[in-house]
């Protein structure tokens, strides 16, 4: 078991290094000068351009830049953002909480409510509830999230005035308000963006859960359990559902990076101060250090998410253990 674990971790580390390497060189191959935006409003004298290239290490050979980037990632030093002039680590740390909050709430709802609804659908296989919910969820999944967001803003904020239009907190609220009041304010602002993402994504977990559960319910050992007189609720909960969790755990691992990247459009519609919009802006502006900092974070989440999913899968399903 420990050998398997070590091998799996080593495999994850190699995947991570390859991903970072590819991201680094792909970013450098993209046309566009990272300093161009600095000179977009007011041309910089050639000396200044030379000096800035030196400051950001852009005048060094590509391989030297690459090794410097990798060693920086390992040390936790992601360099200075060209666009903002402050450390990338600081920028990411400022924006990460908002992203984790939004993504975390969405994942939590998707993997609780979504799983529950998937189970209910499976129990009602082919029934009216199953068909109605399945169609509704797929319809929502087919609509772009920014469009769902705009509809929610129009209805929930601009027409009914139930929720704030945008942002993560009320800037007019006192900074000295109690933590409870501040959390309520954040929850109030979180409602619409979270609902948007849940509506746009919950169909996936529901479908996965429904499909996996239906497959499990058709299995021989379930038939045996039923034949032995095990109550249907126990068959579903103890036998079928546990087996059906495997694919869902894999899905969870794949969705972990959604914490960072999955909400770019929703962040834009609701002016949610997360990392997605920061990363998108960094790529558009060719802010290499910031873009690579965000990319390193996403690559880490992908690798860690998949590793965690493998470990969880092994814990849930003894058949996949070595």
């Amino acid at each position: 078991m420990s050998r398997w674990l070590v091998g799996r971790v080593a495999q994850a580390a190699i995947t991570w290094a390859v991903a970072l390497t590819l991201l680094f060189f792909l970013m450098r191959l993209t046309p566009g000068d990272p300093l161009a935006r600095l000179a977009a409003d007011r041309p910089l004298p050639p000396d200044a351009v030379t000096q800035l290239r030196h400051l950001y290490g852009l005048d060094r050979p590509l391989l030297a830049q690459y090794t410097s980037f990798l060693s920086g990632v390992v040390r936790g030093d992601l360099g200075l953002s060209i666009q903002f002039g402050i450390p990338v680590r600081t920028l990411i740390a400022e924006r990460l909480p908002a992203t984790v909050l939004l993504g975390g709430v969405v994942l939590l709802i998707d993997f609780t409510l979504g799983l529950g609804l998937g189970v209910l659908q499976a129990r009602d296989r082919g029934g009216r509830f199953d068909r109605w919910l399945g169609n509704a969820a797929l319809t929502a999944y087919a609509i772009p999230s920014f469009w769902i967001g705009l509809c929610f803003v129009w209805i929930g904020a601009l027409t009914w005035h139930l929720f704030p239009v945008a942002g993560m907190s009320d800037p007019l609220a006192s900074a000295a308000a109690s933590p409870w009041a501040q959390w309520l304010d954040i929850a109030h602002h979180l409602a619409l963006p979270a609902l948007t993402l849940v509506v746009a994504t919950i169909a996936v977990t529901m479908r996965y859960q429904r499909g996996a559960l239906l497959e499990a319910l058709d299995a021989d050992w379930i038939r045996t359990a039923r034949a032995k007189g095990v109550p249907e609720s126990t068959v579903l909960r103890r036998h079928a559902w546990r087996t059906a969790l495997g694919p869902v755990i894999t899905l969870l691992g794949l969705w972990l990076p959604m914490l960072v990247t999955g909400a770019v459009f929703t962040e834009a519609v609701f002016a949610w101060p997360g990392l997605g919009s920061l990363a998108a802006d960094a790529v558009i502006g060719r802010d290499y250090p910031l873009a690579m900092g965000c990319a390193a974070l996403v690559a880490t989440l992908v690798v860690v998410g998949n590793l965690a999913a493998d470990l969880l899968y092994a814990a849930v399903d003894p058949r996949v253990r070595p």
Binding site: Q51, L91, A271, P273
Partner: protein, 544 residues
Amino acid sequence: MPPAIRRLAIVSALLAVAPALHAQSDHGSIVVVTGQYPGLPIPTLIQGSSNQDVADLLFLRLARIGPTLSTSGDAGFIPQLAEHWTRRDSLTYVFDLDPRAHWQDGVPVTTRDVVFSFTRARDPAIAPALSDLLRSIESVTALDDHRVAIGFTHWYPSQFYDATYQVQILPAHLLEKLAPSAVAASDFARTPIGDGPYRWVRGVPGQFVELAADTGFFLGAPRLDRVIFRVAADANARMNLLLGGDGDALENILPISNQDRVRADTALRLVAVPSFTLGYFLYNERDPADTARQNPILGDRDVRRALTLAIDREAMAQSIFGPEATVPVGPASLSLWIRVPDPAARQDTALARRALTSAGWNQVGKDGIAIRNGRRLTLDVIFPNTSAARRQMALQAAAQWKAIGVDAQLEPLDFATYLDRRKAGRFDIDVTAVNQDPNPTGLTQSWTCAGIDGANVGHFCDPAVDSLIRAASVATDGLALWQQVLRRIDADAAAAFVFAPAAMIAVHRRYEHVVFHPESFWSGLGAWSVAPGRQLPRDRAPGR
């Protein structure tokens, strides 16, 4: 009546009257919705207009440009940190600082701060772009605590502008001991201490920045107690914040359908403010494939003129920006003091066709595109895909150019790629939008032969324009010469100048004394107030 009861009665009466008194107050707050988080409003480090907006409320200059927006001489400039000034000789201005000026930590503003700020601003290692603009300043010398002399290398009309507009004064006592490279990550950058009408309260990254009125501001305490710059990167989200009542003001209301939405909202009004924005189709006079050679199509002035005549620039400008947008003669925005009042040439497709024919484009292919010596009149038009206004301009122009036999190939580009292509001269026509500097000497960079290989990416080179600019730059009253420059560039058809718009700014109707300065829209917020009796709950600042 016993004294205790009398005191109680007085206090009760005051408490009863207090809400009424408050209702009559003209204090309040404002939420300005903006596109970028202004988290680093430190002069010399500023990137982006949002940071500059906040910096303009925190840090003063020696003087600011007056209502005429003229940058020639010192007439019209309004004292800020400098109470008054004198010209000692043709190469020196002496400024007397206002003795009442102080930093928000109580330390007086002295010439030590002025010398320090200019030293930082003139250091290319610290402020590369700014130091280039200040290259004609030779020395900044403190004569005593409140008198400072600024010396120049040579005489020119905009010396005073360079000495005052470009540099915002920083507190030497807080920054002297910090290495310039450490300022961005310092406590000062997180909580700036300025000398302006507003002081920094807090910044929540990605969300908002809150400023509070400095009640001890030496030029008069602002009436708006609180200014909040609220961030929404997406244009629709900004509009929603405004229309949803979560924002009080928003600049650049576009497209014009959004202007109609603001007009339909009874709580808001639109204010047209002349801006320094200018938009045009820039013709590349060199071959995009080899910039050492002349452009085989656009190297011919008649073709460039034909292209300009073929488009209805007035309709284009007004359909994109609204009725206040004008078509400029030459590269002059509405706020540039040298702008020419003449009307721009109107669309004349018949004349445009004749000009093309006389330039040799006298055959027409089956698809209606003009041909010369077997070559089709095809032009590559680039613009950034992030700009809806420029996309609209390009689409309208392409349709109108097609009518005279020009095949415009539109290339919307990712912004970084666009900047790359533009800089390398790999385009025929570039849909350009710029924010001009208030000083017309800025034209040197884009419209002189010396600017080629720099900002003059269209490779426009007319020795007559160079000579006019040289003469205008040193003339005491250079207005007529500058206007000749503009007319000459326009006649050369270096570009088709399309729009010089007014910025349409939406503001809540409860504000009075609303003043916008074209060079910095929000810098006049200190003069604003809320009409008595029209305050909203949010106008009651915490603690009031």
